[in-house]
Amino acid sequence: MTKTAITQPEDTSFSFTQDKACLDITLTGALDQNTCPALLQAIDQAALPTAMGTIRVNLQGVTFLDDFGVLVLLHIKTQCLSANGTLTFLGASARHKRFLDMVYEEKNAAIPSSMSCHPGILEHMGDKTMTMLLDTRAMLTFVGDLCLSMTTVLCNPSRLRRSDTVIHMQRVGVDALPIVALISFLLGLIMAFMSAVQLEQFGANIYVASLVSLSMVRELGPIMTAIIVAGRSGSAFAAEIGSMRVAEEVDALTTMGFDITIFLVLPRLLATLCVLPLLTLFSDLFAIAGGLVVGVGMLDLTTHGYMVQTVNTISLDDIVWSMGKTLLFALLISGTGCFRGFQVRGGADAVGRATTSAVVTSIFLIILADSILAVIQRYWG
């Protein structure tokens, strides 16, 4: 006879005796949420004999039994009972009957779900490939839809929701101006500062102006602005549209007969297309201002000299090219944001994933497009 006391002063305890084919277990006290974990542990530690033909559980002394107590009894059953053995309860009161029935109930076969089975590696790869193909198809459909809606709106401009477009222009453009300005100003400042250290050795201070303006206008201005807007607004688009999906608002729009691309995507897309080039120009300006501060403050350049050098360095072609690039980035940011939003299925976590994915995808696409354009410009321009 082994006896284990679970609580002080021996309110709940567990003990067992064993002869040839019969295991007698005695439980006393309360079998509830508080004692269940300790009891389970005690049963494991007691190393009960397995595959017994008959198990008798004496519940005479049990004062309280609930679903947590059932867990203990189930544990005894699965640990010790052989396939065709019997399990009997002695001294159970009528109150406990409902819970004892639970011990006899077979576990229901789990409802098959794609989540519960562990797929093999091939299956996994196939699954991923299918997902990717479907993703690509969905993206192409989205782009096609977008082109169709664009033509519809071009033929019939009154179908565009102008007030929404203006609101989005404000959110994407005006509201982003302070952060774009600050980051660009500091960027110009840092670039001028770092390059000055090198250029000063050759007495080529004035070229700080060229360096800042050229790198900003050609590359950094468009890229920095696009990344900031992707983080601010691309994510917002995905989250807005995603939560509308979750709340069935997109379904409601569809059944009200609205073209959801015209209603939800075009205002965001056109707003981004309008304001991103402007933001980029502001970014260029503020970076040049940052460079100017360093140039005038530390390198003894005159404001006039710095500006003349800047204007001489940048050509109109550079600006046109950078505006073209910016328009492409605007398409990528708003398109990705809205597309990820529409892909949301399920609940709040899906919205979160869509938001993250929108930012990551659009930054990736921005950098990719920029690299491709750089190569094209090099060999064509």
């Binding site: 509308m244 409601a252 569809t254």
Partner: protein, 268 residues
């Protein structure tokens, strides 16, 4: 095409579900024009999903759906748009646009599909909101009103263009008995005065008995329609015990099978 000869909705051999979950197999039923038709069934048996199939938001795995005799096919935009114009829908969660006031929500479709001047639209919206007992809440955002009020605003939005077919997904869930009875009255009035066909998903027995002309009941286990007809008749005479229990609001008898199969094990 003369649409008056056809049933409002015909569902033919419909099999529906999601990737690995089939909810309904080879279902056939039709909704006649001008009737109040209720879809019943236990929680999670696919009532909302069936509704979304009829709305063309999900495509069936098999079978077809006809609206006033025209096949429902979302891939044919112009025909689909024409069908959607005859629909008014209230979703289970309301699905009000969160960034618009109740009045703007209701006005949205009117602005899109009619040439009414702004003042007339305002009046129309006020009338509709008053019908559902929401006078005075025009300028509230959806998040500033209670759950039941959201439902009612969504009903007003569904009603605003006097649709030929009105779909309501659990309209009275979460409403107090009086408001719920008012709503039943409103549905009956609209049905009687405009001949609107109404398709309702509902669990509210009193409301089902008072307004439904015909019901169907879906069953998750057999993935089929287990009852179709007049609710009062089904309550008393359905061959399915489950259907009678549903209407009489009885609990499922505790499954005694487990005890029987383990009789040799259990001698408590």
């Amino acid at each position: 095409m003369d649409t008056t000869l056809h049933p409002a909705i015909e569902v033919r051999n419909l099999t529906m579900g999601f990737a690995d979950l089939i909810l309904l197999q080879h279902a056939d039923f039709e909704v006649k024009q001008g009737e109040i038709f209720v879809i019943l069934g236990g929680s999670g048996c696919g009532k909302s999903t069936l509704l979304k199939h009829i709305l063309g938001l999900y495509s069936p795995m098999q079978g077809s759906i006809l609206i006033h005799g025209t096949p429902l096919n979302p891939d044919d935009p112009s025909a689909y748009q024409a069908i959607l114009k005859t629909f008014g829908v209230m979703y289970q969660g309301g699905a009000l646009f969160g960034s618009m006031t109740l009045a703007e929500n209701v006005a949205l479709a009117v602005e899109e599909y009619t040439d009414l001047p702004d003042a007339a639209i305002r009046d129309l919206v006020e009338i509709k909101l008053r019908q559902v007992g929401l006078a005075g809440f025009e300028d509230h955002l959806p998040m500033e009103v209670s759950g039941g009020m959201k439902k009612r605003a969504a009903i007003a939005r569904a009603l605003v263009l006097n649709p030929k077919i009105l779909f309501l997904d659990e309209p009275s869930a979460g409403l107090d008995p009086i408001t719920s009875a008012d709503l039943d009255e409103l549905i009956r009035e609209i049905n009687a005065s405009l001949g609107t066909t109404v398709v309702i998903v509902s669990h509210e027995l009193p409301s089902i008995f008072s307004i439904a002309h015909r019901v169907i009941m879906l069953d998750k286990e057999s993935r089929s329609i287990i009852a179709e007809g007049d609710p009062k008749f089904l309550r008393d005479h359905s061959p399915h015990a489950m259907v009678r229990r549903f209407f009489n609001r009885q609990a499922m008898q505790k499954n005694t099978q487990a005890e029987n199969t383990h009789a040799e094990n259990s001698t408590p």
